[in-house]
Amino acid sequence: MNTLDFDRLISEVVKATNLPVPSNNFTAKVMAVTSPSPVPSSDDTRLKNYLKAAAALLLTGLFFMVIILTSDIPFIDSLYKVFSFAVSPERFSFSIPDIMNFTAGFFENSAIKILWAGIVLAGICLLILDRYINKGVKTLQSFLFF
């Protein structure tokens, strides 16, 4: 008997083997749980998923803001300075060069550079982890970044 015939024999045996069966009222039990609730439409589900992900991102951002601003970190003073510089009325501007200057100044501070590097690195790690865990699942992150 060659490999192909042997493979065919295995296939025949597996097909002839009866599968174990669940209890007689299995279908009724499943239907009892599922029947009262209509299937949510794909639009509802997608919107709900995006809202959930957005809420999670917002809460995470707030959490880190509270932690950073209430901690006794040596460079927190310089962080406050940058923020007060940003929101002081005389500096407040929507013009693109001003925003770019502000952003550049923000990154020039070495203490803040480390903080930003940490945040960006953590973000990248989280995105990679998310892609690995949710292969094929549409999340807000995958919608925004990939």
């Binding site: 008997m1 083997t17 599968l19 174990p20 669940p22 279908t27 599922t34 299937v39």
Partner: protein
């Protein structure tokens, strides 16, 4: 044929006829239960896992993209639910290197000396002795006739790993059958 029917049922359910789900449950419950049993090991737990998987599938039916067969999608849910339930590591299957495929001789010339019933019996016993993970793979591949790609999608293994594992399972069965033949011939000789 089944594939078309499954999708028709899915469309009916999505259009509000939720009672059509009973037909899908009836059609796939044995395989779902069997897969859950191979991972969980206990029938009571397997039933709970299969039920949970069917409920999850119903609640997420709108996310089912009809690019794959419904059953492949469902079995993936059963597999993930069972793994979560039993708190086993997701990739319990060890990854294998495709280059490690060992050549084995055309199996068992001696098996031709036996009747079809005896051949069946020997292969059946060898299959029963396989580990539950191996049993799960051959059930999906031979019984459900899923392609290697689909088995890969259900179990999370790479396609080449599925190929290597199926090859090794065939080899295990061939070795087991060969041992049985030797034993039977020895007994006959004595």
């Amino acid at each position: 044929m089944n594939q078309v029917d499954d999708i028709e049922y899915v469309l009916r359910i999505l259009n509000g006829d939720t009672s059509a789900y009973a037909a899908l449950v009836d059609r796939h419950k044995n395989m779902a239960f069997s897969l859950a049993l191979k991972i969980a090991g206990k029938p009571e737990e397997a039933e709970e896992i299969a039920m949970d998987a069917f409920v999850k599938a119903f609640n997420n039916l709108s996310t089912f993209r009809q690019e794959s067969q419904f059953k492949t999608w469902l079995y993936r849910i059963v597999y993930n639910t069972a793994i979560t339930f039993t708190r086993k590591k997701k990739h319990e299957f060890l990854a294998l290197d495709e280059r490690l495929i060992e050549q084995y001789p055309d199996p068992i010339e001696a098996i031709n000396e036996f009747s079809k019933e005896d051949q069946f019996r020997m292969v059946e016993k060898a299959i029963q002795r396989l580990s539950s993970e191996d049993g799960l793979l051959i059930t999906l591949f031979y019984k459900e006739e899923l392609s290697v790609d689909e088995v890969s999608s259900v179990t999370g293994l790479t396609v080449s790993n599925v190929k290597v594992k199926l090859h090794r399972i065939r080899k295990k069965i061939a070795n087991d059958v060969e041992t049985s033949i030797k034993k039977e011939l020895k007994e006959e000789y004595i």
